[in-house]
Symmetry: C2
Subunit: 252 residues, 2 copies
Amino acid sequence: MPYDPSAFPPFAVTVDLVVLTVRRHDLCALAVRRGEQPFQGRWALPGGFVRPDEDLAQAAARELAEETGLRAHDPAAPAQDNGAHLEQLATYGDPKRDPRMRVVSVAHLALAPDLPAPRAGGDANIARWAPVEELLQQGGYARDGEPVAPLAFDHAQILSDGVERARSKIEYSSLATAFCPPEFTVGELRRVYEAVWGVALDPRNFHRKVTGTPGFLVPTGGTTTRQGGRPAQLFRAGGATLLNPPMLRPEV
Amino acid sequence: MPYDPSAFPPFAVTVDLVVLTVRRHDLCALAVRRGEQPFQGRWALPGGFVRPDEDLAQAAARELAEETGLRAHDPAAPAQDNGAHLEQLATYGDPKRDPRMRVVSVAHLALAPDLPAPRAGGDANIARWAPVEELLQQGGYARDGEPVAPLAFDHAQILSDGVERARSKIEYSSLATAFCPPEFTVGELRRVYEAVWGVALDPRNFHRKVTGTPGFLVPTGGTTTRQGGRPAQLFRAGGATLLNPPMLRPEV
DNA sequence: GATCCTAGTCGTCTCCCTGACGATAAACAC
DNA sequence: GTGTTTATCGTCAGGGAGACGACTAGGATC
């Protein structure tokens, strides 16, 4: 198949975002309500077209900023600078995934600390944080009694893949700190693991593990009592990105 | 940014393949020599345009078959059926990655057992297996004294990412068996790990580990002496895809 | 055929990590 | 003060992994 510059099939390329955060004790994702056909009125992941002059990562960072106001965390940047973690997730290109035209979507995964209610996106869509469990269930009713419709397009698959990526990545990397504010306690970090994995962890063993892993946590000297109970030490994320040995997700 | 069907920027979408195999004691990748500009005469990864009616995975499987004659292994298929393992790797979309036009390439990773010399691809390019170490080195000379030019486009980055994916994935999955023929010995499997990781492993501990991991290996009853020395038991890949506990890559 | 060489397989010992869980500490609400 | 909550330290037993000795069973060599 010799190259013919006039003969390649044109595709639309978009980025879609799986933006995860932990609110109270739930793993939540950012969802926007679609204002147009197809899937009008249904919830979807935020996203948009890649512009002709921008890289995929730039496009994802731009969409993230438009939807949440978060600056993306440069992967090469040191430690926590209050930006969100952003990484490429996977690419979805089924010919029928968008009924209008051939769209290839490069999904990205963003992890952010708990944020105030999302601001309206560039296209003024309604946006909200919803527990991923609720977004992924097929039909049925949400906690508040609202009937639940599946996510638009193949976004349930994308969200599911993003959640699974997050679940496995906090095992062997320090990424769980991306869900925490700049300073956090061991207990807060433990609640992140518990929310993402959906399990209960032993506070004593967890404390021993994370404080004993070199480079994971750096004590700031301060303490806080915002969780109630005995004051807890505050930590910042250490320089380590890969945890060795990893955190172990309890058996099923 | 309201949707305007006539106003999305058109992209070309391709699949590129990182096809890895283990030959003798080296991790090798499939490279093709480019017959045209740009990068004429340079080595590159095999790949091609995605057709208007095919999925990304289909396009990758088609390219793989065209270049190697390998059937792609259906991810949902049971165990080893002599097809290659194929999975999506990552997507590369820098605006300048191809000087001719805006191309987004969805790279895939394929793992295959040692094969005879590659047959000519659909576009009759020269293809060969080359040690990844040689393909990734910047300048200098290969083992046979040939001067080495860097891979075309951003293919060095793609290959590097693919190799890293393979290195980490054989830790916690049974994917290393994808590099082996349908029946293999523990020693052959160990040589796969040694080649991919570039380390030496203790044969006794390795043997204990892989034969003790449930679902990893199934004895076929046969033995072979093709490696010399005492005859070794033959195994097939077991049903397990995730290894728990994982294989541990020795510290650096 | 005796010897060597090669690769495979089984065991043992020690160290360290982990899970289970007791105990104490330091805040707050009554 | 008493109870409640969360944090933090300690102890102990079990298991996995690295280091390494020992034995096995073929082919190659003399």
